[in-house]
Amino acid sequence: MIERSVILLVEDNPDDEALTLRAFSKNNIRNPVVVARNGAEALDYLFARGAYAGRDVADLPQVVLLDLKLPKVEGLEVLRQIRADERTELLPVVILTSSREEQDLVEGYRLGANSYVRKPVNFDEFVEAARQLGLYWLLLNEVPPRRPG
């Protein structure tokens, strides 16, 4: 069995977290999921700070699923910092949010989001969205080569 890359889920709502994990498991997505409950925690994980000090920064997740409305550091700011750091600038980031506000869409893409997915109310649709996400970002998508340490 090949080693599966980590999915970083940045989500503050435990219900949405549970539903997302359920949608993954219904689609047989077995990758380990690291959940960050706010923007600051997500950045700590990525840059191996705070609770994640000592983690290998070069060991990037396969994809980041990023909610926008987050406590402490909000989603778009997280995205900005990811793209601002050369270690993470090529990291695939999918915005997964409830918002369909045009301003969020535009700003998200402007800051370099790779995809923008709106969380549907209907769970069946949510499962379908998770399936497609997993298919594309975990199986089809070729990640950039790992940087030398």
Binding site: L19, L68, S99, E101, P120, N122, D124, F126
Partner: protein
């Protein structure tokens, strides 16, 4: 020999020509002496010598037989060198022939042309100088011999006097003729005594056709009788009357035409009686110029009176010279209470003294100042009330000195409007600020709704599904039915929230106006609708070439909603007919979408466009009731309106203007 002279003097037929000699002798006291006796000759001789005139006696051949002392003096000859010489000696050579001719004629008993008359001749002195002389000649037969007696007087002085007189007269006449006015001198009987050349030109008469005529020949016929009266009045109390004192006078030319004149009259007393000198001037041009000036003034005055502003003209002393009707209305003074008054009568009392200073400053450096320049100014009405004015000033130089023209406008209304505009602007700014705040709140609210309200719904739906999947067996069929209802309700609320967000997005959307091809939009929407339900028998009739000016994205939402509704409410009709076209409504273009669907009860037409209001049951025609509310908001944003007509079961027509 002298007795002969006296004799001839006594001769009755010689009396006249010799009268002068006799008179001359008398003047010397000689006449009183009775010449008698042997002293007679000596006496007469003395007399002769004392005579002031030259006396020459000649025989029939024209030879001198006797001269007196005065003759010697006159001609510069010694007596002896004259006696026996021909008379021609005493005259210039050019007269010799005529003289001898005359002598021969007399000798032949011919006409004695010069005898008995005083004639003027030219004498010649011994030194050759010539001089004018007057000759009185008598002819008599003495001792059967014809003798001529001539009395000669040097008239050089008299001639010079005459010449001077003539010169004076010529000068007088040339002065008269050079005068620019026609000059007519009239005697006390009203007869013309003299006219100058200008009179001839002016009236078209030759001089001799005027002299001696009544002066009325120069007066228009209808005024002639009256003129006689005027003339008599003038003579009764003559005085110098200057040109222009009289009113409109007219002259009459020889050809009967009349022309305007000005006359000055001067009475003159002369030996021949009272004369009147009239100087007459043709004032045709002056009259025309005067009329042109009057016309211009009339026009200007009319203009002035018609001016919408109060126009006040003041002189250098700040006194009002002229105002127009608007001034009377504006300030409430009749004109005659303003003319001559200081301009400050129109200025509020508290500004009056300052105004005098301003006025003098302005005159020191006058310039055109336009309306509204400067500060807030006030006028003062007759009743003391004040009102705001705008004033424009223009300095004008006239013959009577500098004038200032002030145009005064009542700006009460303008001020009021300006204040109103300012208040409105302030209110608008306030409203805009409030509106911006409300918009920001609304945005935050809808963001929050869109994000936060959907998350619990997702949880309700997701965990209901999880319950169904993981514990479906435990809740039984009834339980599973309930969980399905929970899920449907959650999902429906999700749709409602989405529609609500759409509606608010329409409200907040910025308008990007452009020309929009509505027909093309409608055709594309029709295609999409048919593609979704390819099995439906549907007939779209879309009028071509419908265009509007608006926001293309918003207008697309309008057509999508209206055509989507038409499609939805015709779902039971076969075939479906949906029409898009336009018509005139209240002078505006109204677009309409007509269907042959379910229609609705017009009693509820007023609820159509309210959010979440539905006229049909959700089982038959699903929907949130937000579509028409969205349509209405978009149409209102374009400044148009939307309405509908319908018959239940027959169809509906939705109209909108933009």
């Amino acid at each position: 020999m002298y007795c002969k002279i006296i004799h001839c003097l006594r001769l009755p037929h010689l009396r006249k020509p010799c009268a002068r000699a006799a008179a001359a002798l008398q003047r010397y006291g000689v006449a009183a002496v009775k010449p008698t006796g042997p002293n007679r000759e000596a006496h007469f001789r003395a007399l002769l010598e004392a005579a002031p005139d030259g006396v020459v006696i000649a025989d029939s051949d024209g030879r001198i037989v006797l001269v007196n002392a005065q003759t010697e003096r006159l001609f510069g000859y010694e007596r002896d060198s004259l006696i026996g010489r021909p008379l021609t000696l005493l005259m210039p050579e050019r007269f010799h022939e005529a003289h001898e001719e005359g002598l021969r004629r007399v000798a032949a008993g011919g006409e004695q042309r010069v005898i008995g008359k005083a004639v003027e001749l030219v004498g010649r002195r011994k030194d050759g100088a010539e001089f004018p002389l007057e000759l009185s000649l008598a002819s008599a037969i003495v001792d059967r011999q014809r003798q001529f007696t001539g009395i000669l007087r040097d008239v050089t002085e008299r001639k010079a006097d005459e010449q001077r007189f003539l010169d004076r007269e010529a000068r007088f006449r040339s002065v008269l003729d050079a005068a620019p006015d026609a000059i007519v001198i009239v005697d006390s009987d009203g007869r013309i005594v003299l006219v100058n050349a200008q009179t001839e030109r002016l009236f078209g008469y030759a001089r001799d056709r005027l002299v001696g005529q009544p002066v009325e020949i120069l007066v228009p016929e209808n005024l002639q009788d009256r003129h006689v009266g005027h003339r008599r009045d003038f003579l009764a109390a003559p005085r110098v009357r200057s040109m222009g004192e009289g009113l409109d006078l007219s002259g009459r030319r020889a050809d009967g035409t009349e022309f305007p004149i000005a006359i000055s009259l001067s009475p003159v007393k002369t030996a021949e009686g009272a004369l009147t000198i009239a100087a007459i001037r043709d004032v045709t041009h002056a009259k025309q110029a005067e009329k042109a000036l009057r016309d211009r003034e009339t026009r200007l005055r009319a203009l002035l009176e018609a001016a919408p502003d109060a126009v006040v003209i003041a002189n250098k002393q700040g006194r009002i010279e002229l105002v127009n009707a608007q001034t009377e209305r504006l300030f409430g003074y009749p004109r005659d209470r303003l003319i001559g008054q200081p301009i400050e009568i129109l200025v509020p009392e508290r500004f009056q003294s300052r105004h005098v200073g301003h006025r003098e400053g302005y005159l020191a450096e006058p310039r055109v100042r336009s309306m509204g320049e400067g500060l807030e100014l006030y006028g003062r009405r007759a009743d003391g009330s004040e009102f705001p004015v705008a004033i424009s000033l223009s300095p004008v130089e006239t013959a009577e000195g500098a004038l200032v023209i002030a145009a005064v406008r009542d700006v009460t209304e303008r001020h009021r409007i300006e204040r109103e505009i300012q208040e409105l602007n302030e209110r608008l700014t306030r409203d805009n600020t409030e509106l911006a705040a409300v918009n920001r709140e609304l945005e935050a609210f809808s963001y929050s709704v869109s994000h936060d309200l959907r998350a619990p719904l997702r949880a309700i739906d997701g965990f209901s599904q999880a319950l169904l999947e993981d514990c479906g067996g435990d809740v039984g069929e009834v339980g599973r039915g309930y969980l399905s209802r929970v899920r449907r309700a959650a999902q429906r609320m999700g749709v409602l929230i989405d529609d609500l967000i759409k509606l608010s997005r329409v409200t907040r959307a910025d308008m990007h106006l452009q020309d929009v091809d509505l027909s093309a939009l409608a055709r594309r929407i029709a295609q999409d609708l048919k593609a979704n339900e390819p099995d439906r028998m549907a007939d779209f009739e879309i009028q071509g070439g419908l265009a509007a000016h608006g926001d293309v994205r918003l207008l697309q939402i309008v057509l999508e909603n209206l055509m989507g509704n038409a499609w939805k409410f015709t779902s039971g009709r076969a075939p479906t007919r949906i029409e898009f076209g336009c018509c005139r409504h209240d002078d505006q273009t109204a677009y309409f979408i007509r269907d042959n669907g379910a229609g609705f009860d017009m009693a509820h037409a007023d609820q159509l466009f309210r959010p979440f209001q539905r006229l049909h049951d959700a089982e038959q025609f699903p929907g949130t009731g937000i579509g028409l509310a969205t349509v209405q908001r978009i149409v209102h944003k374009h400044g148009g309106r939307v309405w509908a007509t319908a018959v239940v079961g027959k169809g509906a027509t939705f109209y909108f203007t933009l």
